[in-house]
């Protein structure tokens, strides 16, 4: 999937992202508070609406254009609060942007293919799929979820399943799951059979991504375990990348433990081994920077071609010793993946070409995204660092008004 345009409004908070165009690689820059993270959150809300049947995005309006399997789609619509709301929310005191649980229903929804074929045309009164009326279906659920089995809709949902919101910034990877050893081994056997096929690794990555294993932090050790046990060459590349960033580390593995209290279950945990000792260090004792680098590497290694990788403030917890290599790793995957990354860090901003920057600005509740290609001052020749030039832009300094 490749997102080309996005517009979003939270009609409750009056937060409005104006229609913005996006490229294969997008580095969102702008002063703190301008709304970079909210743009990513808005993408997540639209993505959840397209993939989950029991998700309410709140009172919103959206428009998203994207390419999937060589076709160009435009999906737009809005929701309305259900009348007679029995869970009234105090909108003045609600701190979250998202009204989780607040009942809404789809008031309007339209999906167009290649600008001329209308696949879905839905209002509160009518619901047409390829021009034909559809029986009344759940009003709270998007047409993409309701009709996910239809061949015209399935690729759209597959596309939204390729939006991978990085879990590397969440610290709850420490949460342990108990897995059935038998089930895990059965899967390992299945995935090993993929090794011989031409696109076996991408098929493997697609399976994990569809199950959400590579981006749900609690499942990352499981996904990494499958990689370690099946595609050993690819796991070795991941391990080498990690070792090159942290030369004091000798080895990385996903450790499987059986504990009596788990019965027949097993636990999986990321482990590293430092030079000069045989002891393995569990993930719970790794430095947060090391753990985050490892999680980023796992996610990026497991993301299938065509995924959209969304990383908020990717430099968090990362020292100067790991940022260059991780940035290189991200850039090496740019041909296969779309990226939405926010950053404040001079190293990251200097390293990533100016043409990929998207400068975010806000006037009250209206947020604009301007491509650096459209900012003349950034296109002129200069001896200054790119980051210094960004800081000197009036568009940056006056990012919020």
């Amino acid at each position: 999937m490749k997102i080309t345009k996005f517009e979003f409004e939270d009609l409750r908070t009056k937060w409005h992202l104006e229609e913005a165009s996006f490229d294969p690689f997008n580095l969102l820059v702008g002063v703190s508070g301008v709304g970079k993270t909210k743009i990513l959150e808005a993408l997540r809300r639209v993505c959840r609406l397209a993939t989950e049947g029991d998700y309410g995005p709140g009172h919103v309006e959206w428009l998203i254009e994207f390419e999937e399997s060589g076709l160009h789609y435009r999906w737009e619509g809005n929701t309305e609060p259900v009348t007679g709301d029995i869970f009234p929310v105090d909108t003045n005191n609600s701190s979250s942007m998202e009204d989780v649980g607040r009942p809404t229903e789809i008031a309007r929804e339209k999906i167009a293919l290649d600008d001329h074929t209308i696949i879905i045309d839905r209002t509160q009164e009518t619901f047409k799929f390829q021009g034909d009326n559809v029986p009344k279906l759940k009003k709270a659920v998007s047409a993409i979820v309701l009709l996910e089995s239809e061949e015209q809709i399935a690729p759209i949902q597959r596309g939204f399943n390729r939006l991978l919101f990085s879990a590397a910034l969440e610290l709850n990877v420490h949460a342990f799951e108990s897995y059935s050893l038998q089930q895990i081994e059965k899967r390992v056997d299945e995935y090993r059979h993929l090794q011989g096929s031409r696109d076996g690794f991408d098929t493997f990555r697609n399976i994990l991504a569809a199950a959400g294993l590579s981006v749900l932090s609690r499942y990352i050790p499981l996904a990494a375990y499958y990689l370690q046990e099946t595609f050993t060459d690819e796991f070795a590349v991941l391990r080498d990348s990690f070792l090159s960033i942290f030369p004091s580390v000798r080895d990385v593995k996903v450790h499987r433990t059986s504990k009596p209290r788990l019965g027949s279950g097993v636990q999986l945990e990321l482990n590293i081994q430092e030079e000069g000792t045989d002891a393995w260090i569990p993930q719970s004792e790794m430095s947060s920077g090391m753990l985050r680098v490892l999680l980023h590497l796992i996610e990026l290694s497991l993301a299938p071609s065509g995924s959209v990788i969304i990383i908020d403030e990717f430099e968090n917890s990362l020292g100067k010793n790991c940022m260059p290599q991780l940035t290189d790793f991200i850039m090496s995957r740019a041909p296969d993946l779309q990226f939405f990354i926010t950053s404040h860090h001079p190293y990251v901003i200097n390293k990533i070409p100016i043409d990929t920057w998207k400068l975010v600005q806000r006037r009250g509740g209206r947020v604009r995204v301007v491509s650096a290609r459209d900012i003349p001052a950034l296109q002129a020749a200069s001896h200054h660092d790119a980051f210094d030039r960004l800081l000197n832009l009036p568009e940056f300094e006056e990012g919020i008004a």
């Binding site: 294969p24 690689f25 031409r198 590349v237 080498d240 990348s241 070792l243 090159s244 960033i245 030369p247 260059p324 290599q325 290189d328 850039m331 090496s332 740019a334 041909p335 296969d336 200097n350 990533i352 070409p353 990929t356 001896h383 200054h384 660092d385």
Partner: protein, 234 residues
């Protein structure tokens, strides 16, 4: 004879230049600080990227003027997305201006300054070891890269980037990693591995000499050959 190198990168370049200097000038020892640069030593200072590196030229020359005995000062930077001539001109202009401002040549008249531009990055040079690219690569990725530009027969400096790669340097790095991986070797910015070995440097010298490829690397070799006794050439 003593050398002072101001290199753009923080990570890879210091390691590679250090190894290559030790192969080329076995009589030189590394100085750990500028006031310890002696008559047979070399010193490498990290420039923290470009154009930050340019701002450090003045301080480096002032250090040479006040604290060090240096015969040759090298500024080593990537061309990146600029043309080779543009980048040479930028660095040369900064160097001349800073030499004038610091007055270093009045105090150290024997000092010779050199501008080395890695065109477009140091990995471009490293792609020049023709025997490292297999005739029939196995990985689909490397097959595609070789079809895009066969670095074993065509000049790596002339290689652009396929659609999707953000920069030429990012593609050249990925190509180098894939090429070495098929040889069972790994290359990372922190652990350049095999490229530090004397045979690798020798293969690059041969490539420059026999094909005329990698002209920007040849400029480094020419500069080094001019400052080193003939029997110590690497």
């Amino acid at each position: 004879m003593s050398l002072y190198l101001l290199v753009e990168g923080d990570c890879t370049e210091p390691r590679i230049y250090r190894a290559w200097i030790e192969h080329t000038f076995p009589g030189l020892t590394a100085a750990d600080r500028v006031d310890r640069i002696g008559p047979s030593s070399y010193f490498i200072f990290r420039g923290n990227g470009y154009p930050s590196c340019l701002r450090r030229i003045g301080n480096a020359l002032a250090d040479i003027r006040d604290h060090a005995r240096v015969d040759h000062f090298f500024v080593c930077v990537d061309a990146e997305e600029r043309s080779y001539d543009e980048r040479i001109a930028e660095v040369q202009a900064a160097l001349e201006e800073q030499a004038r401002q610091t007055g270093v040549l009045s105090t150290v008249p024997h000092l010779t300054c050199h501008v080395i531009v890695q065109h477009c990055c140091i990995e471009t040079w490293l792609l020049g070891h023709a025997r490292m690219l297999r005739r029939n690569p196995e990985s689909t990725r490397l097959v595609e890269m070789k079809a895009f530009h066969d670095v074993s027969t065509d000049d790596p400096e002339q290689m652009g980037r396929p659609t999707g790669y953000l920069t030429r340097a990012s593609f050249h790095l990925t190509y180098l990693q894939e090429m070495l991986r098929e040889q069972g070797k790994s290359y990372t910015k922190k652990n350049p591995g095999v490229v530090l070995e004397p045979n690798y440097l020798q293969a690059l010298r041969q490539r420059c000499a026999s094909t005329g490829h990698l002209a920007s690397l040849q400029r480094l070799f020419t500069a080094w050959d001019g400052v080193v006794p003939a029997n110590a050439a690497g």
